[in-house]
């Protein structure tokens, strides 16, 4: 059998067959391109109109009247970047709350929280640059550079919005960026609320005994490196929403109480991620293999101004590594640091237990309000 295989490999038939397969493959890809070129059909089912419609449908849950608009932040990364912003209760004179979403999400996913949060103060939620409905410029492939670009986009947005300072609340990747922003512009942040933030702990050193396993790991991480984390969704094309619902049925379940149509959330997430993945590649630049941050926050948190109060909250079930919490607590001994763990919630704290989440955020906001009167003295939390 082995002889026949080697004969087959050496014979002239083999390259011809390979060539045919290769050509066929090209033909296949070409067919896709050909089919996707006219507007009536495309493999990637992204459409601006659909994303807008989906967002509107989801936001029907929110009772508070809102204003959606593009904020032109000028040439930050690309030539003219725009950030899609939702503003609630803008008439209130209190310090506004700004919400930053996580990887692969968009503004609409805050729908369960906005009503409670916007009751007393202005709330602004925006799609991060490179995500959702915001413009999608190509970020740098360097970890620090990409991070700085992201942070600058937030700062430019603040300037355009004419907000002096705000309470910054970030989830997952948003939490990482919020911390990074507070490091650069500590005076602008009156309170930093981190909901299960990404990128805090350091990557633990791995001791792989077997050489074979080591090689396999290196190969896998090498192969995975150029692929964007959510590429599978884009490859799935029109099957994308179905794929999301298959591998993450829990996401739509979280919103099942408010949204009757379980297809909405997967559709929305698909629409958010089926465009050019520029924000995702920025995330890819910021992470080393398998989701650990290249520049973990725990190393840099020392540089954070002591006056910035931090509320850190996460779900007890969350699968994110929480080993950094104790170190963080030790490092923030001289300032306000409030750690809250919500039992029964996972990584998506804001959607798993919206009531508890809102309560903690409002508590942090009240603290920020009280601090503005007493000139932001570092006081430890009462509990």
């Amino acid at each position: 059998m082995i002889v026949s295989i080697s004969q087959f490999l050496n014979s002239k038939v083999f390259p011809i067959i390979t060539l045919i397969i290769f050509l066929q493959y090209n033909l296949l890809i070409n067919t896709f391109w050909w089919l996707s070129s006219p507007n009536w059909w495309s493999w990637s089912k992204y459409s601006e109109a659909m994303l807008r419609a989906l967002e509107k449908t989801i936001l029907r849950v929110v009772k508070t009247p809102y204003k959606g608009f593009y904020v032109d932040i000028g040439p930050v990364v690309g030539p003219a970047d725009k950030i899609w912003t939702l503003s609630f209760n803008t008439d209130s004179p209190k310090t506004p709350l700004v919400l930053l979403h996580g990887l692969g999400a968009g503004v609409a996913l805050w729908c369960l929280n906005i009503d409670a949060l916007a009751a007393t103060r202005p709330v602004h939620a925006f799609d991060l640059l490179g995500f959702g409905r915001s413009s999608r410029p190509d970020f740098s492939s360097d970890a620090l550079e990409a991070e700085i670009q992201m942070v600058r986009a937030i700062e430019e947005w603040r300037k355009e919005m004419r907000i002096n300072n705000f309470i910054l609340c970030g989830h997952s990747l948003g939490g990482f960026l919020a911390t990074s922003y507070s490091l650069t512009y500590p005076d602008r942040v009156k309170h930093l609320i981190l909901a299960d933030p990404w990128g805090f702990p350091e990557r633990p050193s791995e001791n792989v005994q077997s050489a074979v396993l080591w090689v396999a790991l290196k190969t896998v991480s090498f192969l995975v490196q150029p692929i964007n984390p959510l590429a599978t969704i884009r490859i799935a094309g029109p099957l994308g929403p179905k794929l999301i619902n298959t591998i993450r049925p829990d996401i739509s379940k979280k919103y099942a109480g408010a949204l009757k149509d379980t297809e909405l959330i997967p559709q929305y997430i698909y629409q958010c991620n089926s465009q050019h993945p520029s924000g995702e590649s920025a995330f890819r630049a910021m992470m080393s293999a398998f989701g650990w941050a290249k520049n973990p926050m725990i190393k840099r948190i020392d540089n954070l101004d002591d006056r910035v109060p931090i509320t850190l909250l996460w779900g007890l079930k969350s699968w994110i590594d929480h080993s950094a919490e104790d170190i963080l607590k030790n490092k923030r001994q001289n300032s306000y640091f409030n750690l809250r763990v919500i039992p029964g919630a996972g990584h998506h704290v804001y959607a798993d237990k919206p009531e508890q989440f809102n309560q903690i955020v409002l508590e942090a906001c009240r603290y920020a309000d009280s601090q503005s009167v007493s000139d932001r003295l570092p006081i430890m939390p009462s509990n």
Partner: protein, 655 residues
């Protein structure tokens, strides 16, 4: 709070670790509903039935080693996991299993016809329960071709539709995969994604990928032991985080309040309680119970010791077995197909006959060594009735052991393996026998019964000494006739229930003036009344303490109740109803009376002397050394619940 176990094939050993922890530190959580799919359902059933953990572990390990020793592992055609599971369940499940788990055990199944998830919790018979458990663990093709039927409908593995059935908001989810479950391992290899397959959240990490492979391919006993330990540690971490580890006293108070439907937060967790603190600290350093660890050690040893294992562990031998696969595999396949066909034909004959509406008479005649079977079939063919007689004369041996006949069919790989194994085992046995000394241990069960009665305290009156009667009963039961060395008989069991219900005809020491028949009466009470609460735990001296609280206020007997008490009880009838009657009928109605403490017993030294029972009144300040049961009822009285709970504790001293 309810529990839910994820389906996970051979990783079910993780659930054993979790179960160990719950039994040891949070037995009150096991009183509610437990759900599961696949291996999780079996684990849930074992937990609800209080099956000894050691034996369950050894059975899982046996299954795993059975699967490992064949070529292609569990995918070897002659490895029939379905049948092995059936045998194990038939062996372990008690006769009244279905009654005891009814309404509590929730098994997740997938209906074959439409792929919908079905959760069953009512079982009419033991067979039905077994069928449901088997159906929940049925992976098509891997376990067999035709899914088993439960109540006439075909079902397969619950893992296809809902692998982690959650009954309500307060469900503690247990999963051996790192993800968003309450009790699960925490990996530090990836931070990127997690997916949610059939309600089970799984992080995309290399550990989880390894675990996924191990669902069907069992790992080595060492790895399994580690997984079990991991389960124990994770469960302990969860209990710690949620403040669920309490001392028995606080547990008793808590349970009483749970059954009386008045959940009061301050009693559930009391950070001031010294015993709770001690219990917590003990839990910090504790480990998987020895019974389970011993089983692992045995299996690991048997897998590593011996000349044969040494040979087969060698890399060359592994290569050889892989290379010989093309030759042994066809033989295996042939054997398996042969067996399956005969089984199938056996089954189809039974199934098809009623379908055709034939009338069949089978006449057996046994003459000497020969069994003659006459099949008489009457087949209605249009209007005519055709009689169709066939005579089968079979050899008795062949008929009875159809499988053994086929067992002699070519089965090269395993046959060679088995033969060499037998020879080498004999050699090692012979070597061992030279060194072994026969040990004789006389088992002695010492039982101490401390019975204390508390008088009802009036509301105005300060409680000075509520103890009215107290009595210590000690009896020793010697099992001299058991000449089996303990080490050699791991299967030997002592049925606690029998021992405990035996008449105290041995030695009865009493410290108070009570009649002999009081003890009899108490025994009667225990058998008549379901325990309001029964739990046991292992204290630091490796003693199993069984504590049961019985509701005897309704009892008319004057031995256990003084007239004064009766008055108090009648006055407090409303309280009693609220506190106990609900529990008797609803929550603990079909709970077993005695939990099986053997599973936690460890082989220790023989305790010859009786431990003195410390018995003091409530005011004397040495409250800590009194048996747990007394303290808790004291506490209850002090808390203003004026019910009388004559409580007693059995202390089973280990031997």
């Amino acid at each position: 709070m309810n529990l839910s176990f994820a389906g996970c094939g051979f990783l079910g050993i993780y659930h054993v670790g979790v179960a160990c922890c719950f039994r040891k530190y949070a037995p009150h959580l096991l009183l509610n509903k437990i759900s599961g799919a696949s291996a999780g359902a079996i684990a849930a059933c074992c937990l609800l039935l209080d099956l000894p953990l050691g034996e369950t572990t050894s059975d899982i390990l046996r299954l795993a080693t059975e699967a490992r020793k064949r070529s292609l592992g569990p995918f070897n055609p002659s490895f029939n996991i379905h049948r092995l599971l059936l045998h194990a369940l038939e062996k372990f499940l008690p006769e009244d299993a279905h009654l005891r788990v009814n309404g509590k055990l929730h098994i997740s199944l997938t209906r074959v016809c439409d792929g919908q998830n079905v959760i069953v919790s009512q079982f009419d018979s033991r067979e039905e329960l077994i069928q449901a458990l088997l159906a929940s663990a049925f992976i098509p093709i891997f376990s067999g071709l035709f899914p088993p039927k439960y109540k006439g409908i075909r079902y397969m593995d619950g893992g296809y539709s809902d692998n982690l059935p959650t009954l309500d908001e307060n469900t503690i989810t247990v999963s051996p995969f790192c993800g968003e479950s309450d009790i699960c391992p925490r990996d530090d290899s990836s931070q990127l994604f997690h997916i949610n397959i059939a309600n089970t959240s799984i992080e995309l990490s290399k550990h989880n990928i390894y675990r996924m492979i191990r669902i069907l391919f069992p790992p080595s006993p060492e790895t399994l032991a580690n997984m079990c330990k991991q389960g124990f540690d994770d469960a302990l971490r969860f209990l710690h985080r949620n403040n669920l580890i309490n001392c028995t006293k606080c547990l008793a108070v808590q349970s009483t309040f749970v059954v009386s439907d008045s959940l009061e937060e301050h009693l559930v967790y009391d950070p001031q309680c010294k015993d709770c603190k001690m219990h917590r600290q003990e839990a910090m350093v504790s480990n998987v119970p020895d019974t389970v660890l011993n089983v692992f050690q045995e299996v690991i040893d048997s897998a590593n010791k011996g000349v044969l294992n040494w040979i087969f562990k060698h890399r060359g031998m592994k290569l050889l077995s892989v290379l010989s696969l093309p030759y042994t595999l066809p033989a295996d396949i042939m054997y398996a197909t042969f067996t399956k066909i005969t089984l199938l034909s056996h089954r189809t004959r039974r199934l098809v006959v009623p379908y055709r509406k034939n009338t069949t008479f089978t006449l057996n005649r046994l003459i000497g060594n020969q069994l003659e079977t006459y099949f008489c079939e009457y087949r209605p063919c249009q209007a005519l009735i055709l009689s169709h007689n066939t005579n089968h004369i079979n050899r008795l041996h062949a008929l009875n052991n159809k499988n053994r006949l086929l067992g002699a069919a070519p089965h090269v790989g395993n046959l060679l393996w088995d033969a060499s194994r037998v020879v080498l085992d004999q050699v090692s046995n012979a070597l061992n026998k030279v060194n072994r000394k026969s040990q004789q241990i006389t088992a002695k069960i010492t039982c101490q019964l401390a019975i204390t009665e508390y008088g009802g305290a009036n509301v105005e009156e300060e409680i000075i000494d509520p103890v009215e009667n107290k009595m210590n009963l000690n009896f020793t039961l010697s099992l001299d006739d058991s000449d089996l060395p303990l080490e050699q008989s791991p299967d030997r069991k002592f049925n606690t229930r029998q021992v405990l219900q035996r008449k105290p005809s041995f030695t009865v020491n009493k410290t108070d003036t009570m009649d002999d028949d009081t003890f009899d009466h108490i025994l009667q009470v225990t058998s008549d009344h379901d325990a309001v609460m029964a739990y046991y735990y292992l204290d630091e001296n490796n003693k199993v303490k069984v504590t049961e609280i019985f509701d005897v206020t309704e009892d008319e007997s004057s031995i256990l109740q003084t007239p004064h008490e009766k008055d108090v009880n009648t006055n407090l009838e409303f309280d009693d109803d609220e506190l106990f009657d609900n529990s008797l009928e609803e929550d603990l109605g079909d709970n077993n009376l005695f939990s099986d403490p053997e599973s936690e017993w460890t082989g220790g030294s023989c305790l010859e002397e009786l431990e003195p029972t410390y018995f003091t009144c409530g005011k004397s300040g040495v409250a800590d050394i009194r048996p747990e049961a007394d303290r808790e009822s004291m506490e209850a009285t002090k808390n203003g619940n004026k019910f009388t709970v004559p409580s007693f504790s059995y202390e089973e001293i280990d031997f």
